[in-house]
Symmetry: C2
Subunit: 333 residues, 2 copies
Amino acid sequence: MSGPEKPSRGRKVTSFDVARRAGVSRAAVSRAFTPNASVSPETREKVVKAAKELGYRVNYLARGLTTRRSDFVGVVAAGMDNPFRALQIEQITKSLVRRNFRPILLPADQGESADHVMDQLLHYNVSGVLVTSDAPPTALCAEFAAAGVPIVLINKADTIPSVDRVVSDTNAAGKLAAATLVEAGAKQLAVVAAPGPSYTARCRLQAFMGACYALDVEARVIPVEHNSYREGLAVAEALKGVDGVFCINDYMACGLIDGLRRLGGKVPDDVRVIGHDDIPQASWAAYELTTFRQPCDVQAEQAVSLLISRMDDPTTAERFEVTPVSLVRRATV
Amino acid sequence: MSGPEKPSRGRKVTSFDVARRAGVSRAAVSRAFTPNASVSPETREKVVKAAKELGYRVNYLARGLTTRRSDFVGVVAAGMDNPFRALQIEQITKSLVRRNFRPILLPADQGESADHVMDQLLHYNVSGVLVTSDAPPTALCAEFAAAGVPIVLINKADTIPSVDRVVSDTNAAGKLAAATLVEAGAKQLAVVAAPGPSYTARCRLQAFMGACYALDVEARVIPVEHNSYREGLAVAEALKGVDGVFCINDYMACGLIDGLRRLGGKVPDDVRVIGHDDIPQASWAAYELTTFRQPCDVQAEQAVSLLISRMDDPTTAERFEVTPVSLVRRATV
DNA sequence: CTGTTAGCGCGTTCAT
DNA sequence: ATGAACGCGCTAACAG
């Protein structure tokens, strides 16, 4: 007979059961499953054997109770309709899992939902929180930091004591966007973005306008409600006379391009368009969007690293890392 | 002075601290935070007050230790580049959170990674597992079921004892796709799909081919590696002579349309295209894709319901729920 | 290297 | 309705 002996007995097998079967103490069992613990190879073997026969697995929840740590990391995110957000989450969770953490994902719809949901996290002794959403207010983040929970923000604004951040290079993007459009012959520039919650969006907008001013070229701001496809589609009409536009993200840029074409406009002949994020759709043949690649994989790695280092030393001053963006030249400019 | 008194003392406040400050026993504190427990309103109030002052929160991990339950539910998913997957995950996590569970998200890349990662779940006493990926092998799922962990599969194949499933109506989709294409005047049909892991994809393919046979119209199967945009784009060349194609998902259909257009083909004049899933991009102006809407929100609700009901009664026979799909007529047919 | 003891933070009897 | 005592599954500290 092979395989676990009690495949589905009602009760869970505990370290006690394993200890008895292996003829050792419970501490020995514990040590057998603890890295760098001092156990003789033979006892370890006995334990492992007994454990396998019984189908035993260490209860990490109980372990966490005594070690006062948990492997859980909260990941709060909103706006998953934006493909970039989906990618971000994938990368973040992968980074986390790779380092042996368990990501608990909290969809933070705009509004107070975020508060309530994040609040729950405090009950689980999470060893950290990663925030990509625009939703969670500064106050809440500060509360976490004060509670001693490491927290790092991705592409968010607020500088909060003890809260680390990783942000893409908004300044470079804004300036280079302006320069690129001008260089391509655009005379009447515009930037479309929601004045709303997205921090990086606002920064890119400012950098863009600043650069336009420096270049002495006319530029205006076209506001929208959300930085989404639908808004991009709808806002195309408001672009009369504009021949070069910086769209604050690709998601909206796709809508903008579709909107321009629907109105009979030619891209890039009539209007040059440049986006941001380099979502998969940006490289789709229907768009061939020139855009800035934002490396969400390295951002994820950085964020997790920051988290870990703060877990090790919670007292360090808050850090701020900026990730470089790179222009991907395609067909829309 | 308002607000928590010990905002960031090193040690966590426990029920003991609250009990002492409120002048009651620890049991009283416990009961104050347990629904339907017998506590007098006054003691409850005292406890709540003291708790607030101290910034106390029940440790759910410790609670789970004695109640032998946890609020965690594993969510394993792969292929997040497909927008439909992203939506699915969003809906699932929202459903879970709404019912007061904590979704722990496991990105299951193809291959053995899934095994290892899911394996970890057993250490956390998860009270259930939701699987949307194509990756996890039957054996692993069975192991969970045997271990007494409720598990429900979304759009997956294998019928396993004690494992519930919710699947979209593949049969209806396949048949209706064929009928719709024929009705639109197509004479030479094709279905493009990967023979690979996706269960629903295979089913839709079969239903489609069956319907074509019944309708006495020529149809062939165009195989691809993955059901992705890139493959769709590349496979357009293989469609010489075809004037009506059922693409197994929208993600690939977008690629297919772009591929056809690149070759100078007109959609729907030369080739009618019909997809599946109704991802956001399907309604983008660049595509206007006729497709089947798969209601991943109700699927999520159903899956969670199944999970819960099995948690309540683990002995029920495995159930199989099919969710209806509906044809969304747009411009590609 | 090993076993013994003493908690981790909490829920639950069982008396009162 | 309330408190005392015990146990959940495990690890840390201390002997030996």
